[in-house]
């Protein structure tokens, strides 16, 4: 029911619609033992330049939904639309291109490449783009400096704190200057001080008119968000607009 309301409310403002999903299901191990229904009939819309929060308890399907919206995984059923185009039928190549050009993803566990320095991790997306080593380092340094990590640029992930690793992951997500930035539970692995830094970063990104999509199970980021989607056991349970 709520889904229908969302769509009917905003069907007239398609121009600022960036991501939309319709009746999306995700079932892990479908048809096999240990089948898990992680998402059930989720429909929502994310506007260009908005700061959207996905809230829900552990296991409610936040990571799963972010992965679908961020083209990291394909839904079992339903449609996902980027700027009106259904991407569920996209080829592997087209999805890679979409990820490269438009999406920056910061994973819950950061997923940095071990034994690769911070700046190298940040600049891996530029390797196939043909950017020279110097160019890559320069661009990575600009971001690391902005995120207060310039002095950690040559450290490998193993030598960095959780908060620092997170900022390296954020820098990597930003290196291709994508319009959508997705962060999966960015507040869960860091302390209060690092959280303050994170909030500053998110505010800056928002003022750069990036579209932010963030999952969380606490309330710290709530005051800064435009829209909050509540997830419960794989279903959309509520929407709050500011």
């Amino acid at each position: 029911m709520t889904n229908i309301r969302v769509r009917s409310q905003e069907s007239g403002v398609r121009r600022d619609e960036l991501i939309r999903c319709e009746g999306v299901w995700k079932i892990y191990n479908e048809g096999r033992p240990h089948e898990v229904q992680a998402l059930a009939d989720v429909s929502l819309e994310i506007k260009k330049g908005s700061f959207t929060i996905l809230n829900g308890p552990s296991g409610s399907g936040k990571t799963t939904l972010l992965a679908l919206l961020g083209t990291m995984d394909r839904p079992s059923r339903g449609g996902i639309f980027m700027k009106g185009k259904d991407i569920t039928g996209f080829s592997d190549t087209a999805l890679s291109t979409l990820r490269r050009d438009s999406i920056g993803f910061v994973f819950q566990n950061f997923n940095l490449i071990p034994r690769l320095s911070a700046w190298e991790n940040v600049s891996t997306p530029l390797i196939p783009a043909g950017v020279s080593e110097k160019g890559r380092r320069d661009r990575a340094m600009v971001l690391l400096e902005k995120l207060g990590l310039a002095d950690r640029a040559s450290h490998a992930p193993e030598e960095l704190s959780g908060g620092e690793q997170q900022r390296v992951a954020i820098a990597r997500a930003l290196i291709n200057n994508p319009e959508i930035i997705i962060l999966d539970e960015p507040t869960s692995n860091i302390d209060a001080e690092a959280t303050d830094i994170l909030i500053d970063i998110l505010k800056n990104l928002k003022s750069d008119s990036k579209t932010l999509l963030v999952s969380t199970h606490d309330q710290v980021l709530r005051p800064h968000a435009d829209t909050v989607f509540e997830l419960k056991r794989g279903r959309l349970a509520g929407i709050t607009h500011d």
């Binding site: 992965a67 990291m72 995984d73 394909r74 592997d92 190549t93 890679s96 291109t97 990820r99 490269r100 050009d101 999406i103 993803f105 994973f107 997923n111 940095l112 490449i113 071990p114 034994r115 690769l116 190298e120 891996t124 997306p125 390797i127 196939p128 783009a129 043909g130 950017v131 020279s132 080593e133 990597r172 291709n176």
Partner: protein, 389 residues
């Protein structure tokens, strides 16, 4: 630039995944080393025998003896010299004898037959009553130049149950040196007259070698046949064909064994390149998640494999070179040279050629590609979320 970037990234990966790289390289070297060594030794032996064939006479003549090679009167040499095209006719006496319990080849030659392979002698060529012996034999008998050797030929009688053997003392005038090759290792060289008397052939030789002017081989053969239909004629071309055929057969057997070993190694390589695969899979997922294309990931892994092959093939070559040239091919030589013990007493002939090396590189590449490309592709085409799990 893009491909160069990916190449550098691949190099970085080879270094970053040190353990995996080292294990794969060791495996590849273990496969390539015996291959390169065997080819080098086979080529070396082949070359040496080719040289000795080309140095020998152009035509060898023996007498037919009920279908076998029989002895030929030495005086025939003088007659054969008259055939147009023949430049030299040299009788040889060749046979096997036991010296100190070791089988040796005894060769008697005339003064005017001195092929260049006989240049590698410490000492001088044998005159009457003198011999030049091979290194293997010299080591076995603990003999040096200037010493004497008793050569017994046969038992002529038993006196009080003790065999009475005809023996003759020979003066060692020279020893073949290290460069003289495997054929000279257990050779005893003496003058034809001495050899004839050892073999008790009186006025006969084992064969007569004819040196002919280029292009006269066929005509001389015909002339010989006309002179005496009982002559058995072997031309150099024929000998060469026999030798090549022998080597090709040996090479073929080796190739078959190698293919078998190769087939057995593939699973090992598969396992080792799959070594650290879960970490690998995750990294591939991360690259895909940050916008790499599947073909770019594959290109990187391809470059990695090229680098591993580029390290492995020369390493195997160097190892094989050191093993053969410096250590004289222990344990490998006996597989290809009959009579060579696990530590060969003569310098093992070898010849390193570019083609087997190039081959070994592609071998290595093929192996690593087989081991990695499918798993890489699988990790790259699934969704990044799945690969990163």
């Amino acid at each position: 630039m893009k491909h160069l970037n990916i190449l550098y990234a691949a190099a970085g990966n080879v270094v970053r995944h040190k353990l995996r790289s080292v294990v794969v390289i060791l495996c590849l070297v273990a496969v390539l080393f015996p291959f390169l060594s065997a080819i080098a030794i086979l080529e070396g032996v082949k070359t040496q025998s080719r040289i000795s064939v080309s140095e020998g006479a152009d035509i060898y003549v023996t007498m037919d003896m009920f279908g076998r090679n029989g002895v030929i009167p030495i005086e025939m040499a003088e007659v054969m010299k008259q055939i147009p095209g023949v430049t030299k006719a040299v009788p040889r006496a060749i046979g096997r004898i036991y010296i100190g319990g070791k089988l040796a080849v005894l060769l008697g030659i005339t003064d005017d037959e001195k092929p260049s392979s006989l240049n590698f002698i410490n000492g001088s060529l044998p005159k009457a009553g003198e011999i030049v012996i091979g290194r293997g034999l010299a080591e076995h008998l603990n003999l040096e130049v200037g010493e004497e050797l008793n050569i017994g030929t046969r038992v002529v009688a038993f006196i009080e149950n003790e065999p009475y053997i005809i023996k003759k003392m020979y003066h060692v005038s020279g020893i073949f040196d290290a460069q003289s090759g495997i054929w000279a290792s257990n050779l005893v060289l003496m003058s034809i007259d001495d050899a004839v008397s050892v073999f008790e052939m009186e006025d006969f030789a084992t064969d007569i070698g004819l040196y002919v002017r280029p292009g006269y081989e066929a005509a001389v053969s015909k002339g010989l046949q006309k002179m005496n239909p009982f002559f058995r004629i072997q031309t150099k071309g024929l000998v060469r064909t026999y030798i090549e055929r022998g080597f090709n057969m040996k090479g073929g057997i080796f190739a078959a064994l190698y293919v078998l070993a190769f087939a057995l190694t593939i699973p090992a390589i598969l396992v080792t390149s799959g070594f650290g695969l879960s970490g690998r899979r995750k990294e591939i997922g991360i690259l895909k998640a940050t916008g790499w294309q599947t073909h770019e990931v594959l290109e990187m892994v391809f470059f990695e494999n090229i680098m591993l092959a580029l390290i492995s093939a020369p390493s195997a070559l160097v190892l094989s070179f050191v093993w053969i040239k410096l250590f004289n091919a222990p344990f490998i030589a006996p597989l290809f040279i009959p009579g060579a013990g696990s530590i060969p007493p003569f310098p093992v002939p070898s010849r390193f050629m570019p083609l087997p090396f190039v081959f070994s590189f592609f071998f290595a590449l093929l192996l690593t590609m087989t081991g990695s490309i499918y798993s890489t592709w699988r990790a790259a085409i699934v969704s990044p979320a799945e690969a990163m799990k």
